[in-house]
């Protein structure tokens, strides 16, 4: 049996925040046909990942349950649900907005924090390594690609941009709180 949903858990400010994403308010048009979830390739692997339910929860303002769900991070953004929704709900774009609110609330997976740190440090989410340098030479390319890896000024621009936009602070390692 599912737990009873209490109206006292509804946070309408959270819903308003989600609706700041363009067309996110289209989730109010959902009539539960379940076309999204029934076609979802991730739901096939992990039924707890249920995009229809998640968007329903967002519409009810169920902030805490939604932001703390580990399944929030299962979507591969394949957009199949968004393409097939008969009501034009922006499933994926809305889910990404919910993730953004989670991040703003300090909820972030360690691996995502690590990828973010790589971009801050090196400008690439998947940076070069020695093996790749050898492989580059073997196919006749310069061992360093002409990206931020090669141009220090350009890396400096990226690092400055991420600082100004507040990204560094957003994804910084949080002090352990007891």
């Amino acid at each position: 049996m599912s737990d009873i949903i209490k109206t006292s858990d509804f946070d309408m400010e959270f819903r308003d925040e989600v609706f700041k994403e363009p067309d996110a308010d289209k989730i109010t048009l959902c009539f539960n046909c379940t076309g999204c979830t029934s076609g979802c390739p991730m739901a096939e692997q992990e039924p707890e990942y249920n995009i229809r339910k998640f968007l329903r929860m967002a519409n009810l303002g169920m902030k805490d349950a939604l932001l703390n769900s580990p399944y929030l991070w299962y979507c591969t953004t394949c957009y199949k649900c968004q393409e097939r929704c008969p009501q034009g709900v922006k499933n994926v774009d809305t889910l990404l907005k919910i993730r953004t609110i989670a991040i703003q609330n300090g909820i972030m997976l360690d691996n995502h924090r690590k990828v973010s740190q790589l971009v801050i440090k090196l400008g690439h989410a998947v940076p070069i390594n020695d093996d790749a340098k050898e492989k580059r030479k073997d196919v006749g390319l310069d061992d360093t690609p002409p990206t931020v890896h090669k141009f220090e000024d350009a890396l400096g621009e990226v690092q400055k941009l991420l600082k100004i936009s507040g990204f560094n602070e957003l994804v910084a390692e949080k002090e352990e709180t007891s």
């Binding site: 390739p41 991730m42 096939e44 692997q45 992990e46 990942y49 991070w73 299962y74 979507c75 591969t76 953004t77 394949c78 199949k80 968004q82 393409e83 994926v92 990404l96 993730r99 953004t100 991040i103 972030m108 997976l109 691996n111 995502h112 990828v115 973010s116 971009v119 400008g123 690439h124 989410a125 998947v126 940076p127 070069i128 790749a132 492989k135 580059r136 073997d138 196919v139 006749g140 390319l141 690609p145 002409p146 990206t147 931020v148 890896h149 090669k150 141009f151 350009a154 890396l155 621009e157 990226v158 400055k160 941009l161 991420l162 100004i164 936009s165 507040g166 990204f167 957003l170 994804v171």
Partner: protein, 301 residues
């Protein structure tokens, strides 16, 4: 000769440089010169960084776009993820004056300004629209008589309202380009399904992400193909590195070689095998290599 700037992204130059090399050489043969987009960064990855902070995602993607604006060239990408980020960011910046102003304030601090003067192209979409299968067929010197499982991936065609590439359930444009190389694009179950890597899922939840790849590999294998052809280095990595992870985690072996379309095109244009980097993959299938050798004869040297 047409000219485009070449946006490399992360995975092609830093994991599968054969894709980068093959793209430069094959496009040159088709009359398109690729110019280095010097100082470009991560696109940044759409599902991950867009999730984290929309303004950061938009600003970093816009910086990459402005580098090409400053050169007066449209951008070419070889990756569905980079395409997704750069096209979406380019469109948002062109259409939303408030966001454009906010992002341009950040870009001004580092000496750039988004103007909205260029387009972002994906190699498959570009070849289909600007070059066409007939011209590719004419440039092929060794028809590659292979049965291939074509993987479109997601962000090349979706969201369709942004991409305008026709059907997302049964597209044909990529199949036509594959068949122009002499290969047969074999139909398989759930062909348009996702590889499982995107949206930060591979990074966050590896096992269910790999299970999605298992589904695809099962269907591809059942169709009896020689190899996988993709249009995205991240899908490429998911299928190539993924097969080794799947072997360890689920004890399943598929042994399916993974090629980006640029590499298939390079084979069909008779480019030297070592310059295409196909054997830099983790999955090396000797039977496939022998078949390539048989088809190409002396061109493999």
């Amino acid at each position: 000769m047409s000219k485009l700037s070449f946006f490399l992204g992360c995975i092609a130059p830093n994991r599968y440089p054969g894709i980068e090399a093959a793209t430069i050489k094959t496009l040159e043969k088709l009359g398109t010169e690729l110019v280095d987009l010097e100082g470009a960064s991560c696109c940044p990855a759409p599902g991950v960084f867009r999730s984290f902070d929309k303004i950061t995602w938009l600003a970093l993607a816009s910086r990459n776009v402005t580098l090409s604006e400053e050169m007066g060239l449209d951008i070419l990408t070889v990756c569905n993820g980079c395409f997704g980020s750069l096209v979406d960011a380019n469109n948002i910046m062109k259409e939303d004056p408030e966001l454009k102003e906010e992002v341009n304030k950040i870009l001004k601090e580092i000496g750039h300004e988004f103007k909205g003067t260029i387009e972002v192209r994906h190699i498959i979409e570009y070849l289909s629209r600007e070059v066409g299968p007939e011209k590719i067929k004419a440039a092929v010197t060794i028809p590659m008589d292979l049965n291939v499982a074509l993987h479109y991936g997601c962000h090349l065609v979706k969201p369709s309202k942004e991409r305008h590439l026709g059907s997302v359930e049964n597209p044909r444009f990529f199949d036509e380009l594959v068949e122009a190389t002499g290969a047969t694009s074999v139909d398989y179950e759930d062909k348009m399904a996702c590889c499982g890597a995107g949206g930060g899922a591979r990074t966050a939840v590896l096992e269910p992400s790999l299970q999605m790849a298992v589904n695809k590999l099962e269907h591809m294998k059942a169709a009896g193909v020689d190899c996988i052809i993709d249009a995205c280095p991240f899908c490429h990595l998911q299928f190539d590195v993924g097969q080794t992870e799947i072997k360890k985690k689920f004890d399943k072996v598929y042994d399916l070689p993974v090629l980006h379309y640029s590499q298939l095109l390079g084979l069909a244009m008779g480019l030297p095998l070592n310059e295409l980097g196909i054997n830099q993959n983790l999955i090396i299938n000797e039977e496939f290599n022998k078949k390539i050798e048989r088809i190409r004869g002396g061109a493999n040297e």
